[in-house]
């Protein structure tokens, strides 16, 4: 018995699919960009900004640890208030990251970090006070700050990392264990340890290079073998 033939009209089906997709993926009507809402308690915000400003000014004069915690608290508050405003939020995030860097590095924090932090804060105030500032101008200001921040971030990343004390001590203890003589390890100068670390680094790099070279050669061989097999019809 033959099964009944089923005819499918794919074009009609495609039209129906299109309609169904329209229903499923109906985008909510784009509401106009929410305007920046400055909360009614403007005075308290101004107070907070003033406080932040004072903290910033005293960063280099007083104990940074305590100040940074205060700074974080103020930023948290402002973050809540300006959660509707994407521009101010970005600037607050930048400040947050910079102050986090200062907090973790303490006295070793690069002085440029303070400079950038101050600059970001000033731009935040500029945007906050200039209520009629155009969107493009805001974006320009933020872009400048982001570029500055990124440059700094890259600079910090690329800066040659000094050998950490932990690494040195671990090397020394390793030496002690291997020689069984505590004095020999103690006599090792920092220079030698640095040299050893460099050697380790170069060995690692060389092995990585070798690995990639071997992989490439293997690839070439494989393709050659494949080409030969197809030529010979194996």
């Amino acid at each position: 018995m033959n099964s009944p033939r089923v005819k499918i009209d794919f074009e009609r089906l495609a039209n129906q699919v299109e309609k169904r997709l329209d229903q499923i993926f109906k985008q909510p009507a784009r509401s106009t960009r929410p305007k920046i809402q400055i909360p009614s308690n403007t005075n308290s915000i101004l107070n907070r900004l003033n406080r932040l400003h004072k903290i910033l000014l005293s960063f280099e004069l007083r104990d940074t640890d305590e100040l940074i915690i205060k700074y974080f608290n103020q930023l948290e508050y402002l973050k809540q208030i300006f959660k509707q405003d994407e521009y101010l939020r970005i600037l607050i995030t930048l400040q947050y990251n910079l102050s986090h860097y200062i907090k973790t590095n303490k006295e070793n924090a690069h002085p440029i970090a303070f400079k950038i932090l101050r600059s970001v804060f000033n731009r935040m105030c500029d945007i906050f006070y200039a209520k009629n500032m155009k969107r493009n101008d805001r974006i320009k200001i933020i872009n400048k700050e982001i570029i500055q921040y990124n440059k700094f971030h890259q600079f910090i990343k690329n800066r040659a990392r000094p050998i950490k004390r932990k690494q040195v001590t671990s090397l020394l203890t390793r030496e002690k264990n291997s020689f069984g003589n505590s004095e020999t390890a103690d006599q090792e100068s920092d220079q030698i340890i640095q040299e050893r670390l460099m050697v380790e680094f170069y060995i690692k790099r060389a092995t990585a290079d070798l690995k990639s070279y071997i992989r490439n050669e293997l690839k070439k061989l494989r393709t050659e073998i494949q080409a030969n097999t197809t030529k010979n019809g194996i």
Partner: protein
């Protein structure tokens, strides 16, 4: 090739998001999943490595419901864009009924876009399919970079580089913000369904 089951009255369609590394293929799928989760009632499967790079593929199936007596299932896949995952790309592309080519509009990715399209062409040929016949939609992604004053390729350059001979529909999109993500999906799905009869 689309899977049509006349007994259970089911049509399965496979759509693959193709493109260079970090062009936003997974972001497309993730946006669809996140934004329309309640409508599509499905789960997204994604295998990522460190730094959220796709290792194998992302998979998002969803049911469009009954139409003309047929249940239509759409399966969205992404391929890993990184050059080293060539074999995986080939495998994921197998049996694809439609392709969305997600191109990165940033200036630095011009060469990558072209190479990836060539790669798509070669991989399709391996399955006896031609890039000229397969339903294909271009998505020129990351238009939000324009707002950030980043150097981007103009749509004319992109059309010239990628769509000069193919002449397929294209969308300027921002997968991150969802701009034209749904439109791209709608277009490729309807094109794919309409193309089934030719297969």
């Amino acid at each position: 090739m689309a899977f049509i089951n006349l007994k259970t009255k089911e049509i399965k369609v496979k759509i693959v998001y193709y493109g260079p590394a970090q062009s936003g293929k997974t972001t497309n799928l993730f946006y669809i999943y996140r934004k329309f989760q309640n409508q599509i009632k499905s789960k997204m499967i994604s295998i990522n490595t460190f730094g959220d790079r796709t290792v194998f593929f992302d998979f998002l199936p969803f049911n469009l419901g009954k139409m003309d007596g047929f249940d239509i299932l759409v399966q969205l896949y992404t391929v890993p864009g990184q050059v080293k995952y060539k074999a995986t790309r080939e495998l994921v592309l197998r049996g694809a009924d439609g392709v969305v080519f997600v191109a990165d509009i940033s200036e630095l990715k011009r060469k990558d876009n072209i190479l990836s399209l060539k790669d798509l062409h070669h991989n399709l040929m391996k399955y006896n399919q031609s890039i000229f016949n397969v339903p294909l939609v271009f998505q020129f992604n990351k238009i939000d970079l324009v707002k950030l004053n980043m150097p981007v390729l103009s749509s004319n350059i992109l059309k010239h580089d990628l769509n000069n001979r193919l002449k397929r529909p294209y969308y300027l999109a921002s997968a991150l913000h969802g701009h034209n993500v749904a439109s791209t999906l709608k277009k490729i799905t309807s094109m794919t369904i309409a193309n089934i009869k030719y297969n």
